[in-house]
Symmetry: C2
Subunit: 512 residues, 2 copies
C-alpha cells in the first residue's frame, strides 16, 4: 500500500473501532434497561440513550470520516487494497452514505414518529382499535417512503422497498424474495395439507404441566451447557441468561447476552427461546477475534443470523437425536416435574403442526406462511399499491386463504407485531430467509459430515459447531449474504433443501 493510502486506511479503522466500541456500550445500556433498570429511571435512560446515539451519529458522519473516505476511494492506488481492506472501507462508506444522505430533518421526524407510533400501537392493540393506530402508522409509513426514495438512489436499488430491505439483508431484492417465497409457500401448503390429514396426530397436552421458573432455569442451564454457551459463574463465561418479557440476544464478541421468559405452565416456551437465542449468541461469539473492531468483524445479515438461531432452535432443538441423551438430564434438572415425559411423545408434541393466528407462537411448518403474508403486504404498501387503511382487510383475507384461520379482531391480526409500529419495514422477510438458509446449511453440513446426526445423538456437537464456525462465523461480514450462502453451502439461494428437510422430518413424525 502506498504510504498515504495506508495511513488513511489506518485512521479510518481507528475511527471505526471507536464507533464499534460505542455501539457495544449502547447495547449494554439497552440490556440494562430491559433487564435490571429500576422503573423510575425510564426518563433518565431515554436521555442517556439519546445522548449516546447522538454521539454515535456524530462519530459515524463526521466530516473527517468523509474526507478519509474520499482520500481512499479516489486514491490512484485504491485497487492495491486487498479483499479485506476493500470490504472494510466499502462497508464504512455504505454506512456513511446512508447516514449522511438523508436530510437530518427527515431522520428526526422519523425518530419522533416512531415513538408516537409505538405508543399508539400499544394503546390500540390493548383496545383492539385499528382506527386509533391507523393515522400514526400512516405517517410513519409515509416518512419511510420518503426515506426509501432517497436511499434508493444512494443504494442504487430498482424499487424503494429494496432500499429498506437492504438495511437488514444487504443486496437482497423484493423480486428475488418473491421467487423463493413463491416456491416456499407452494411447498409448505402442500406439506401442511399432508400433515393436517395424517391419521396419527401428536398429543400436545403432555407439555401442559407446571414447571417452576427455578426449575426452568436449571433446564436452561443444561441446554446452554450442551451447546457450549457459557454463563456465570463459569470463570470463562462470555454470556449471560436473564429473564425479560420478550426473549432477545444482544452484545459483542466476549459479552453476548441472551434472555428468556419463564411461563410456569408452558415450560417448552423457555426451552425453545433459550435454544433460539443461544444460536444467535454463538454466532456473535464466534465472529473472528482478529476482526473484532472492524466492519468485517460483524454478523453478515439478519437473515444469516436467523439461520443460526433457527438451526439451534428447530433443526437441532426439535430433533430426536438432540433429545436422546439430553432428556434424562433435563428431567433430572427439573425433577420431579417432568418425570413422566417420554422421549417419543415429547418429540412429537414439540413438533406439533397447527395453523394459528399469532406468528411468534407458530410451528416450524406454518411459521414462514406468516412471514410471506407480511412481505406481500409490505411490498405492496411501499409500491403505493396498498393503502394503510386497507391493511386489516387484506391481512384477514390472506390469513384465511393461507392458514385457514379467521381473524376475530386486529389485535390478533394486523396489530400483533411491533415491527410496523416501530418502523422496521423490510425486516420481516429475513425471518423466512433465515429458515431457507438453514435448509441449505443442513444439506451442506450433511455432505461435509454425514455422521453429524449420529454424533448429535451421542451428545456430541463438536464437529457440527466446527463446521458452522468455518462455513459461517469465521467469514464475519466479509460478504453480502447471497455470496456467503453460496460460499458456505455451495449453492445459491434455494428453498429445496429446506423443504426436503421439512418433508422428511414431518413424514417421520406424522407417518403420511
Amino acid at each position: 500500500m502506498p504510504t498515504n493510502l495506508g495511513s488513511a486506511y489506518k485512521k479510518i479503522l481507528e475511527r471505526y473501532k471507536n464507533i464499534a466500541v460505542l455501539g457495544s456500550t449502547e447495547a449494554i445500556v439497552q440490556w440494562d434497561m430491559e433487564t435490571k433498570m429500576p422503573p423510575k429511571a425510564v426518563q433518565l435512560r431515554s436521555e442517556q440513550l439519546a445522548l449516546l446515539s447522538e454521539i454515535h451519529h456524530k462519530m459515524a458522519t463526521s466530516p473527517t470520516m468523509g474526507k478519509l473516505l474520499d482520500e481512499i476511494f479516489k486514491h490512484p492506488q485504491y485497487e492495491t487494497l486487498n479483499e479485506v481492506e476493500k470490504r472494510n472501507v466499502q462497508l464504512i462508506k455504505k454506512n456513511y452514505d446512508e447516514q449522511t444522505k438523508l436530510p437530518s430533518k427527515l431522520v428526526s421526524a422519523i425518530t419522533r414518529q416512531q415513538t408516537i407510533s409505538v405508543n399508539t400501537w400499544k394503546k390500540a392493540k390493548a383496545q383492539k382499535d385499528y382506527a386509533l393506530f391507523k393515522p400514526e402508522l400512516e405517517k410513519l409509513v409515509n416518512l419511510n417512503k420518503q426515506a426509501a426514495q432517497i436511499l434508493m438512489k444512494v443504494k442504487e436499488t430498482k424499487v424503494p422497498y429494496d432500499a429498506l430491505v437492504d438495511f437488514y439483508e444487504p443486496k437482497m431484492t423484493a423480486q428475488a424474495i418473491s421467487v423463493v417465497f413463491g416456491d416456499l409457500q407452494a411447498g409448505l401448503e402442500k406439506l401442511l395439507e399432508k400433515i393436517t390429514h395424517a391419521t396419527s396426530q401428536p398429543i400436545v397436552g403432555i407439555l401442559a404441566r407446571e414447571v417452576s421458573p427455578d426449575k426452568q432455569e436449571k433446564i436452561a442451564n443444561r441446554l446452554m451447557q450442551t451447546l457450549g454457551y457459557e454463563v456465570p459463574p463459569s470463570p470463562t463465561a462470555g454470556g449471560r441468561l436473564d429473564e425479560t418479557e420478550h426473549p432477545f440476544t444482544t452484545g459483542f464478541y466476549d459479552d453476548v447476552r441472551i434472555t428468556t421468559h419463564y411461563y410456569p405452565d408452558m415450560f417448552a416456551s423457555s426451552i425453545f427461546s433459550v435454544l433460539h437465542e443461544t444460536g444467535h449468541a454463538l454466532y456473535e461469539q464466534g465472529l473472528p477475534q482478529e476482526w473484532k473492531y472492524q466492519p468485517i468483524g460483524a454478523g453478515c445479515s439478519m437473515g444469516i443470523h436467523e439461520s443460526q438461531s433457527r438451526f439451534y432452535e428447530n433443526v437441532i432443538g426439535r430433533s430426536q437425536e438432540f433429545w436422546t441423551p439430553l432428556l434424562p438430564k433435563v428431567k433430572a434438572a427439573a425433577a420431579p416435574s417432568l418425570n413422566q415425559l417420554e422421549l417419543g411423545k415429547f418429540i412429537r408434541a414439540i413438533n406439533a403442526v397447527k395453523p394459528s393466528k399469532i406468528r411468534i407462537e407458530a410451528d416450524e411448518v406454518t411459521y414462514c406462511l406468516h412471514i410471506i403474508i407480511r412481505f406481500q403486504i409490505e411490498r405492496e404498501v411501499f409500491a403505493d399499491k396498498l393503502g394503510v387503511d386497507e391493511l386489516p382487510h387484506v391481512w384477514n383475507e390472506k390469513y384465511k386463504q393461507a392458514l385457514g384461520v379467521k381473524i376475530e379482531n386486529d389485535s390478533e391480526g394486523v396489530m400483533q407485531d411491533t415491527h410496523w409500529a416501530s418502523g422496521y419495514y423490510g425486516y420481516f422477510p429475513t425471518y423466512a430467509l433465515g429458515n431457507i438458509y438453514s435448509g441449505q446449511i443442513i444439506a451442506a453440513l450433511q455432505k461435509a459430515n454425514p455422521a453429524w446426526r449420529s454424533e448429535l445423538a451421542q451428545g456430541n456437537l463438536a464437529n457440527s459447531k466446527k463446521w458452522l464456525n468455518s462455513a459461517i462465523y469465521s467469514r464475519g461480514n466479509l460478504y453480502d449474504p447471497a455470496v456467503l450462502v453460496k460460499k458456505a453451502t455451495g449453492t445459491p439461494l434455494t428453498v429445496k433443501p429446506y423443504l426436503s428437510y421439512l418433508e422428511e422430518k414431518f413424514k417421520g413424525l406424522y407417518g403420511f
Copy 2:
C-alpha cells in the same frame, strides 16, 4: 440578565447536562462490570470505559466550554447572576480549570501508573510483600505530587496536599482537619479507655450463626423498606440491591443502586452495609429534581455523603430504638435462623468495641482512629517529610500507639486499603469528617424535633427523613461543605456533638 450573558449561561448548562448524562451512563456501565458482566468481557469493558472517559473529558474541556466560561466571567453584568447561577458557573469553571491546567502527558502518566500500582498492590498484598509494591506506589505518589503542585496554584491552596483534599472535600484544609482530628483523637482515646475497662462487656458470639444468603436478602429487603429505599419489583422503585465483593452505591437521581455482600457466617455484615449504602442512596435520590442536570444538583462532598451513610448505619442502625419495632420482623424474615436473638443482647453485640487492625471491620469508636493515622501519614508524605519506604514502620508504630495492636505483616497493615494504590490521596479524611458531621446533624435534628428518637422507636422515620431532606438533600451542591454544615446544623465544624453522642451511647451500653 442581559441577553448574551443569558444565552451563554443557557448554552453552558446545556453542555453540562450532556456531561452529567454521560457521567450517569458511565456509572451504569461500571455497575454492570461489578455486578453482571461475564468474566470474559474484561478487556472489552476497559475499551468501553476508556472511550466513554475520553468523550467525557473532551466534552468537559472543549474550547467552546472555555469560551463560554470566558464570556460569562468577563461579562460586565456578571454580578447580575443570582446565587444559583453563580454557583453553577463557578463549579463548571472549577472543573474546567482542574481538567485543563494539568498537562495531558501528566494525566495519562497518572492513569497508566494507577493501573500498574493497583495490579501490583493486589499481588503484593496476596504475597505480604511491601517491597514489591513500594516502587510502584512511589511512582504514583511522585506523579500526584507533581499534579498537586500545579493544582495548588489553580485552586489557590496553602499546601499541595490541600489541592488533593479539595477534590473530595472542597475548600477543606489539612490545617483545619488537624485541629478537629486532634480533638477527636483525644476524645476517642478517653472513651476507649473507659469502654475497655468497663466491667460489663457484650457477648459478640451471639452474632456468629449461619444465615443463608437468601435469608439475608430478605432481611435486607426489610431494612430497605423501613428506610423507604425502593427496589424492584416495586413499580415505583428508583433503586436496586445486588451482591458484589465490596459494597458500594452508584447512580444518579432516579436510578441509584446499592450492593452488599452476604457472608453466611456473619449476617450482621450485610445488615450494616445495606444500611450504610442506603444512606448514600437516599441522599442521591433526595437531591433536588429541579437541579437534576445542573452542577448544583450533585451531592456536596464525600464527607457530607459519608455523614448520611454513617447516620443510617450507626446513629439509626445501631440504636435500640430502630431495632425495637424491627427485630421481630427481621426474625420473621430469617426464620428460624435468628429466633433466639434477644433485643438487648443484640444491641450490645452490634455495638461491641474492640481495637482491631482492619479499618473496614472497625467499630464505631475506633473507626476514626484508623482514619486519623492515614491522614497523618498522607499529610507528611505530601509535605515531603515522609518517604514511601518508611510507611510500614510509621504505620505499625501508630497502630501500636493509638490502637494498641501489633501489625504482623503489611497486608494487614499499610497495604490493607486500595486507596493509595489507586491514587486517592486526600480521600481518607472524609470518612472521619462524615462521622463528625453526623454528630452535628444529630444535635440539630434533636433540637428541631426532640421526639425523633421516640418516633424511631415507633418505626416512624418520616420526620427525621423530612428534616434531612430540608437540611441537607435539598441544598444539593449549592454550598461548599463547611457552609452547608453551618447552614444545616447552625454550628461550624466541631467534634463536640459527635463525642457527646458516642459518650452518651456507650455509657448506656457499657455502664461505665
